[in-house]
Amino acid sequence: MPFACIFVPNFTVAAVFRAEFELRARAVAIFEGKPPLEKVFAVNDNAGRAGIAPGMTKAQAELCSELTLYPRSLLQESAAHAALLDCAQSFSPCVEDAAADTAILDLAGMESLFGTLPEIAHDLFRCGADLGLDVNVSVASNPDAAMLAARGFPGVTVIPSGKEAECLGSLPIHVLFAAGSGNQQTKGKEKKSDQEKEAIRLLETLERWGVRDLRALAALPQVALSERLGQEGLRLQGLARGSASRTLVPVEAPAIFEEAVELEFPIVLLEPLAFLLNRLLEQICARLAVRALNTQELRLTLGLQNLTGVDPESDTVGIPGESDVSHGAAEAESPAQHFVSGRQRKFCRILRLPLPMLDPKLFLKLLQLDLNAHPPGAPITKIHLIAEPARPRSAQGGLFLPPSPEPEKLELTLARIARLVGEARVGSMELLDTHRAEGFRMRRFVPGTQPNLSRKTSEAAEDKPAVAALRMFRPTLRVTVTLENGELARVSCTKKKEVQGTVLWKAGPWRSSGDWWDREAWARDEWDIALQSTDGVVLYRLVHDLLGGGWFVEGTYD
């Protein structure tokens, strides 16, 4: 039964490189700790050649002028680990989360889907590269052999069945102990230190014996090794021979798609922000794509520079809390909602899409338009983006369906129109259950995909009178009405010169009122009047506000 292992060498640095692609060509050292006790945690090859090593203090590392120091970001490591699991899960449902930098997957039965084992290994390597990770991939007949090969050999390695000991023999002995340290992140510190001590003791013992590689360990007599090193020695020998066998512990990767980047210098302009957003969106969309998912909601949280003088340690910048989210969701039904934390240090925008989509360019444009309309108001120090996964939409196309706008294009068009005329002034109308004037509200335009079958589908128009339309004046025109013997005689309006003249004809009043139990009660009398204007006779709706007083022309029949 074949197994594959995906291993990310120098995981901490790889996680940073995944977010900051341009750092790859430079000497980079990752440091952690609180000032002034910051120490170098990991370095890349260029930094190693420059003499920088883990454990050095930040002050020592800063003596190297070519070195780029970057703080360790657990969020970026978490995102890189999630991407690693996504890569594995796109090939097999049975994936073991062996370590933060290692994933093992069961390839039984996958050859009929994805091709031969070497092809699968190369596809895994390519998929990792698409997700921004430089990975080692190996395929072997048991999980441990695959993991040792992935940790020891760069690139793609395929070990034929039965030749594990021969292939693994050239690996240095310390690979065995590196493989055992994979799960240490999740265990307690005491246990971790005990394991480390035991591993160091075993490694020193083997070196004293002159055992430098796995071939030498595999050749040791089994009984003698057991007498000296116990069961642990036998386990290590089994690993070195490639004969150890165990069952995978499959995990289901959580459907959390988030990316974050912390900025060394705060961003003030939206244009450089767009570059970073583009990178984050591409990474998230790549992860969603390998899981065959789309997204219907994007949540952007910006950490803002503290300009208020409040202690920065008192309020952590990070994932918005539940209270913040509920605050954002409680707003009106606008497509994007935002909130700012109580101390003005977090700024969040929620971009809701009518349908599941997966287009980073579209998302970037929508976020740009949204941030243009709602600027953060302070320099940005951190960007955190979360995509809520959703199943891709499935729609059956038809040759005879009426034309309909493409959802992606329509969303972008609506965002652009909203930028021109305002968010509240574009959409479809929804009538409210009231007789009050202007009893409607705007809501998001989401065209239905299926035609209403209850309507008559005949092309020919029916030979019946059309419905006379009323054109509204917004706001309504205040007019002066002259009464003669209690009857409407003349109307004049100072704001709109056309609306004046003698009343040729009138009908009314049509009396209505409502909401008398509420503070916003209304009562009005309506007349339909015909006035003589320069263009001819024009029909208007005249309204007398009984509560507020005053006469208004509400619209014209057209």
Partner: protein, 317 residues
Amino acid sequence: MSSAVFSTSAAQSRPFVFDGEEVIEVCPKASGEEFFGEARPPQRVVSESFLGAFKDSRLAGVTPASRLAVRLTPEMVSSGIAALDALTGGLPRGCLTEICGPASSGRTTLLLSALAAATGRGECCAVVDAGDALDPQCVADAGIELDRLLWVRCGEDTPQNNSMRKTGSDTENKNFFKSDSHDPEHRLEQLLRVTDLLLESGGFGLIALDLGDLPPQTTRRIPLTTWFRFRRAVEHTPTVLLAVERQSIAGSCSSLLIKLGSQAPGIRQLMTTQPAPTHAQLLTELKITAEIVRSRMERKPARSAEVIFSSKTAWAG
């Protein structure tokens, strides 16, 4: 079989071929003296070798008229009013249609009928409302499916546009419109930009531009190139582009121009016959007069024809 004509343009010495089968006259003279020296009757020259060489060298890029692609007649869709459909054949897809007329002439009634017919066919429609004049209650009463109608209400300005206007970063029409948010010119500017976006997006069955409340002196300032651009954008698409206005402003860019008449004669007649007509008598049967001023749907001179149809208020049943 028609006789062939082969002539030479005097201005550019450019040959025109109307039918390449026969050649009546060819003037292969090198100098003008021989041509003007003696008046000779047209001589039929049949020189296949010369003709072949001439065709090869000069006529390579000329397409005979007989091979020109014939512009297809656009598909017509119902306007929702049977009498008007009988007169015009409906509204053409992929073309610009203008509906013009004074206030209370029935422009909005016709617009709502067309929208109701389009949404009834399952199409998505858009109304770019320069005057923010659409009444949702009337829209619903007209039978329009509200879910399929995109309503863009021009008029208000956003802070970004204000800043853009101040910095002059927006190049389109920046010299053409200089106004604040409540001016007709500002509304017109928004309408044109929104229309561009909607046409670029595509997929709408009907896009209506409501310019009915804007004064003619403002709408006349729209450059003809804008209408030409709209016409080109909507060409070869299933979209009906409809413009509602007081006066015709698109010129030759509109394929169909319908002019609606004032209702003054009908109302006056009603008032003379019945000095105190009831409310129902007037608003239950408004007579609307429509006239075709221009139609490019048929290859014959435009004709002027009229039709009268009626409308009523929703409460009249």
